[in-house]
């Protein structure tokens, strides 16, 4: 009996430490801006900016790259992917670019890439980005070629409906603010001397009770980590009161929540010296301070309340949709890590072989993880000894293919096209992982 309780205790502990890793400063520095940028893109950058390159008359040289870029700009939420996919296929540039868009979308949105970079490593994140685009285009071209007869027919059927002709004017200040937000993200995550050097030290003007410090240490928490978790809870409450009703105007809680979000970024930036009350003022903190001030200045000066409200709404929508699932997913991955014997993972996927890569892909197909949860799961496999090649294969296949999405696609495309698509994705992801593993080991 006691051993069972102990075992359960160790499982919960594993889940908790998993969560701590997830809420660590370097992850928050990337996730918080990434959510804000995702919301910004979906509210401020009109879809017409990209869809006009995906019309029926667009040349291949434009439509394929535009389709892959479209994944980056438009598709954070799966509810926009399917209508756009069907639209591009049936009324626009055709099956090929539509498939490219479908493939690239979930893998390269800003949340997925930055989060992969922060938890697993920049090599995998960049490989995921580049390979997703390359393979998306290749798979699109192959699909268009396989079904070329049908496609020729379709072009005849298509009356010019003008859906793709819409143009959008994006005011210059949108690009300025977009650039600033990206800079916040980069300054928060880049590991270079300019940003990590400590330029000044600040000793906090109060004493820790020894008891508090010990209690925190027992939970594996640093004071900075504890403070950040408290901040997240405060943001959660303030955002609930201030953001849910954003369309009826800004209230006091809205400003509180915004201020707290800025403060969280600033709190996560400085380097903390372990076991002391000294804070290292590093380049990161100075950079973020300047950038956040600029963000506030530009938003207040060149944007209306309605525009800012739309931005907040989209961001808050993503957070509500994704964040709770992520917390559960991270906790569960921490628990499962203890349950699965390391030898299994090592013997199945510890080496970079074609078979190991295929296993990575198959696991991605049969397991369905909600948006972004594939990243902590991948982290878990990495810790258990999975090689980086199969890991990438898994990360490429998982968001594209799941039993659920295959069923939905069946309804839209028909069984024949889906079978070929699934086969192509499986083969390409396996190859990609294998090649990546080979090049890396060399």
């Amino acid at each position: 009996m006691e051993t069972i309780l102990q075992y359960l205790g160790s499982l919960l502990w594993a889940g908790w430490t998993g969560l701590l890793d997830y809420l660590a400063a370097h992850v928050l520095l990337c996730l918080v801006p990434a959510f804000i940028i995702a919301g910004f893109m979906s509210s401020m950058i009109p879809k017409e900016a990209i869809t006009r390159y995906l019309g029926p008359k667009a040349s291949k040289w434009i439509s394929y790259p535009a389709a892959s870029l479209g994944g980056f700009i438009l598709a954070v939420c799966s509810c926009t992917i399917l209508p756009l996919f069907a639209g591009i296929w049936k009324r626009g540039a055709g099956l090929g670019p539509a498939i490219t868009f479908l493939f690239v979308g979930p893998a390269i949105n800003i949340l997925a890439i930055t989060y992969t970079g922060a938890t697993i490593g920049m090599d995998i994140a960049v490989a995921r980005l580049v390979l997703s685009i390359a393979f998306g285009i290749v798979i699109g071209l192959i699909m268009a070629w396989v079904f070329r007869k049908e496609e020729a027919q379709r072009t005849v059927d298509m009356a010019a409906q003008g859906v793709f002709d819409g143009r959008a004017r994006v005011k210059p200040s949108v690009w300025v603010l977009f650039g600033l937000l990206i800079a916040v993200l980069i300054v928060g995550t880049l590991q270079i001397g300019l940003l990590t050097n400590v330029y000044a030290r600040l000793t906090l003007p109060f004493e820790w009770g020894g008891g508090v410090a010990r209690a925190l240490a027992a939970l594996n928490l640093t004071p900075q980590g504890a403070l950040l978790i408290v901040m997240l809870v405060v943001i959660g409450v303030a955002a609930w009161k201030g953001f849910n009703d954003i369309f009826s105007g800004f209230n006091r809680w809205t400003y509180v929540a915004i201020a707290m979000i800025g403060l969280t970024i600033l709190l996560a930036a400085p380097k903390e010296e372990v076991g002391s009350l000294v804070i290292g003022i590093n380049g990161r903190l100075i950079g973020e301070l300047i950038l956040l001030a600029a963000v506030v200045y530009v938003s207040a000066r060149s944007f209306t309340r309605d525009e800012l409200g739309g931005w907040i709404w989209e961001t808050w929508k993503f957070v509500k949709q994704i964040f709770p699932l992520l917390i559960v997913g991270v906790f569960a991955a921490g628990v499962v890590k203890v349950i699965i014997p390391e030898t299994w993972v090592r013997s199945l996927a510890g080496q970079n072989t074609i078979g190991a890569n295929l296993i990575g892909v198959l696991f991605g197909v049969f397991m369905y993880f909600p948006t972004l949860v594939e990243v902590p799961v991948a982290r878990m496999f990495l810790d258990l000894g999975m090689a980086r090649g199969p890991l990438l294969a898994y990360l490429l296949a998982d968001p594209e293919l799941s039993l659920q999405s295959i069923l939905v696609l069946n309804g839209v495309m028909g069984r024949k096209k889906v079978t070929i698509y699934v086969g192509l994705v499986a083969v390409m992801s396996t190859l990609a992982g294998y090649l990546f593993g080979l090049l890396l080991v060399r």
Partner: protein, 80 residues
């Protein structure tokens, strides 16, 4: 009688748009008939590329975003 259709599979923005359209119709005192189109095939019969879409008297007036209240007021006034 104004016919208003909301095109969307039921994500948060579609509900938001429906609430907005209902509010404006109520404020203007319009007699309006609302219909929610949630089936993807039916949605794709309309010339839109992304949801939510708003259709007033058979005309798509907006898609892929939540229009501002002022815009919706203008469309509904014109349709009435």
């Amino acid at each position: 009688m104004v016919s208003i259709k909301i095109l969307g599979s039921g994500c948060a923005n579609c509900k938001r748009l429906e609430a907005l359209a209902r509010k404006v119709a109520g404020d203007l005192g319009l007699e309006a008939e609302f219909e929610k189109v949630t089936n993807m095939d039916d949605i794709m019969k309309w010339p839109i590329l992304s949801t939510p879409g708003l259709v007033v008297n058979g005309q798509v007036v907006s898609s892929g975003r939540i229009p501002s209240e002022a815009e919706v007021i203008a469309w509904l006034k014109q349709a009435a």
